[in-house]
């Protein structure tokens, strides 16, 4: 099952987003790892922590990484470069918005989809929301 890594500046934000997504999952969902904040209270991102989270979430189908903004993206890109080649080739960084994307990704991964499909569904979550808000 495709693994998921949630990267955020804020640990509480990331764990709350995971809680929200987990509501959508019955038993046996994908492995979701969090790499967020420098500590429980300090905001920030850490490429080495992201690398560890990706390794922990790694599956034959790969890993999708969801990020909030700014340095979260830069740190995630750096983390991928720090992985060994086999793992790096199985990571997909998704531009999906964090909360909506995570829910889309979690549900899709739970259905057994590969990393490309999981990332695509995460990214479509933004469009689904747009349609819901604007009525089409």
């Amino acid at each position: 099952m495709t693994g998921i890594v949630v990267v955020s500046h804020s640990r509480p934000l990331a764990t709350a987003a995971v809680d929200l997504a987990s509501q959508m999952l019955r038993s046996g969902g994908p492995r979701i790892e969090v790499a967020a904040g420098l500590s429980d209270t300090e905001l920030g991102t850490d490429a080495a922590a992201i690398q560890t989270a990706i390794e922990a979430a790694m599956d034959d189908q790969g890993v999708v990484v969801l990020m909030d903004l700014g340095s979260a993206i830069m740190s995630a890109e750096m983390a991928v470069e720090m992985l060994d080649e086999d793992d790096a080739a199985r990571v997909r960084l998704s531009w999906a918005p964090l909360v909506e994307g995570l829910i889309g990704a979690a549900v899709t991964a739970a259905g057994g989809a590969d990393r490309e499909e999981v990332a695509t569904q995460a990214e479509l979550a933004a469009e689904a929301k747009r349609m819901q808000v604007t009525g089409g």
Partner: protein
């Protein structure tokens, strides 16, 4: 007259990094103020925390330039927190990797190492000159260093002056990269905090590596 320094050794680099950390701590409030104007207000805190973590590893045994700089880079990556972590982290990591096995650097290899590091910053930040980032201090500094000729001290001073001028030149620029880009036109009128911290790195270089210089002997004395 004091002997001129022609190479930078591992202990020299350690002194440079230590002084960089002191300057980051001294200027932390100022850097965060600059960042409050156009970003999330944490650049000073982040750099101070990052270089404090670096200071904590400088007492380890480092035989080569690359061992030292790689340790510094990975320490920054894990302790800075903001975008400067991967940016400065990449700078030192690449700078180190470019000098595998070296125990000292002459002016040319120091320039080569810093240039490789700055290419890493460009790649990591997907930015170029004129986008109101630290590159606006780094690039003119490297150019001035390379053009300076003369002693290592002269080159470092020229680099530091260009870094400071580059920092000041970011004030009217409109940011297109980083958190400041959310502000668009409103980002103009403020110095970029990353360019300011880069200028401090150069200031630290002059203070620690340009010692034993010829100041007053063959320039300025006659005027």
């Amino acid at each position: 007259m004091t002997e001129r320094k022609t190479t930078v050794t591992v202990p020299d680099l350690i002194a440079w990094l230590r002084r960089t950390g002191e300057l980051m701590a001294e200027h932390a409030a100022e850097l965060s103020d600059l960042d409050s104007a156009i970003g999330d207000g944490d650049h000073g805190t982040n750099m101070k925390r990052g270089f404090a973590a670096v200071a904590g590893v400088l007492d380890e045994d480092f035989e080569t330039v690359d061992a030292l700089l790689k340790r510094v880079g990975s320490t920054l990556v894990s302790s800075v927190g903001g975008a400067s972590g991967p940016l400065y982290g990449t700078f030192y990591l690449r700078m180190g990797t470019s000098q595998k096995g070296a125990t000292e650097l002459d002016a040319a290899s120091l320039l080569g190492a810093m240039s490789t590091g700055v290419e890493g910053i460009e790649a990591r930040g997907k930015a170029g000159i004129g986008e109101k980032t630290m590159l606006d201090a780094w690039m003119p500094a490297l150019e001035a260093f390379g053009r300076a000729g003369g002693s290592l001290a002269d080159a470092l001073r020229a680099g530091a002056e260009a870094a400071a001028a580059g920092r000041d030149a970011t004030e009217p620029m409109v940011a297109t990269k980083g958190r400041a880009s959310y502000l668009g036109e409103r980002s103009a009128g403020h110095i970029d905090p990353g360019a300011a911290s880069t200028a401090l790195i150069w200031q630290a270089a002059v203070e620690t590596l340009a010692g034993g210089s010829d100041t007053g002997s063959d320039d300025g004395a006659a005027s």
